[in-house]
Symmetry: C2
Subunit: 227 residues, 2 copies
């Protein structure tokens, strides 16, 4: 241990979560009003310190933040990237381990004074480098939706293939070929039909309801040659 290390201040470490959901076919992010300085009262990403006395790893910290500060459990969660530097936080040199979370909108708590669900295209100015973190999350989600089952985590437990295709199209921002989409879903062996369960949504043929196979509840399925 040399002197320069002894005298160096360690960085501040925290986790931040970009919690995304789909409301009326538009991607929304969940923001919390900050309770404490810096930026008290400002809308920001849910985040917090690692509790070294209770968290099994940083992902557990992120799950705890979602549970304690947003009031949700069971969201799909994956590590996004780690943001760092002397300027991103006024308290000093800091490290933020960023996570991306997906949840069907039905499982979100009601909005109230300190929680807000906002279209990602209409986010207010965010403190720290939270805007960059959100952008990284959006890029990741859109990219992974091109070749994986990621978007199923924005659907409820049961959904129809037309609904799922709509979710993919909303994320990707472009229409998809119905036949190809179904072929790919088939190849991924991701879904199982719920026997006898149909979704009657109007004056037309009802659609088969599907659920994600248990094996893929936590893992993603990949399409070998993309979407």
């Amino acid at each position: 241990m040399n002197q320069s290390h002894e005298s160096r201040t360690p960085p501040i470490v925290s986790v931040d979560v970009v919690l995304l959901t789909l409301v009326e076919q538009v991607l929304h992010a969940v923001l919390l009003r900050r309770a404490q300085a810096p930026f008290a009262g400002v809308w920001a990403l849910p985040g917090g310190y690692i509790h070294t006395n209770e968290d099994a790893d940083a992902q557990a910290s992120a799950a705890r933040v979602l549970r304690e500060k947003v009031g949700i459990a069971g969201a799909y969660l994956e590590q996004l990237a780690t943001f760092s530097g002397p300027a991103r936080d006024p308290r000093g040199w800091s490290v933020a381990i960023a996570y991306c979370a997906l949840l069907p909108v039905q499982q979100l708590p009601a909005e109230h004074a300190d929680i807000s669900v906002i279209p990602v295209t209409a986010l207010p100015q965010l403190p720290f480098d939270h805007r960059a973190i959100v952008d990284a999350a959006l890029e990741r989600v859109r990219n992974k939706s091109l070749y994986s089952s990621l978007p199923v985590h924005l659907c409820g437990e049961r959904f129809t293939l037309p609904q799922l295709q709509q979710v993919y199209e909303s994320i990707l921002g472009e229409p998809l070929n119905k036949v190809s989409f179904r072929r790919k879903m088939d190849e991924m062996e991701l879904l199982q039909a719920v026997p006898g369960a149909m979704h009657s949504g109007g004056a037309h043929r009802p659609a088969q309801l599907y659920r994600v196979k248990p094996a893929f509840r936590q893992t993603l399925a990949l399409a070998p040659r993309g979407l």
Copy 2:
């Protein structure tokens, strides 16, 4: 600030680098003999603390580690993932921001008592969770080689197309179709021929030498539909 936060020990933060190179068509990782406890004298990934008084971000810390501890500069460097938990380091709850680095073998310093270049299939037992970090790096490199120009960072400044194809094949562990490979390289618009420069390697037609276009010296080129 509540009491439980005040009393919680913050995690230890460091950066670790998986520095990969290609020796005789086999991927090798660079290991350093640890100078200090814990695991003093044991071969491990290059790593170190963030110097908050001089590093612009964690990636700069990783570049500094490569410069100061391995003696190299200019390697391709990208963030891999962040590893964390109470058990990975005997000193306590820790966070390691892991980076993946690629360098042509010619630019590595000579091996000596405290630096070693070892085939990734023949690594010794590594301390901390360094084995998992290496595995993550290998998965990342192999995956990105399927659809990007990542492997060019393992070639020197000038190289032939057959040499580059060989590098891809070594990383991916499978032969590639020559015509398709060249079509893809062409589509990526990644390379420029060095006028008049040929590589005469034996009793056969010499090969055109290429270099990476300046625009892609730091950025990756992507093949829209993969390799």
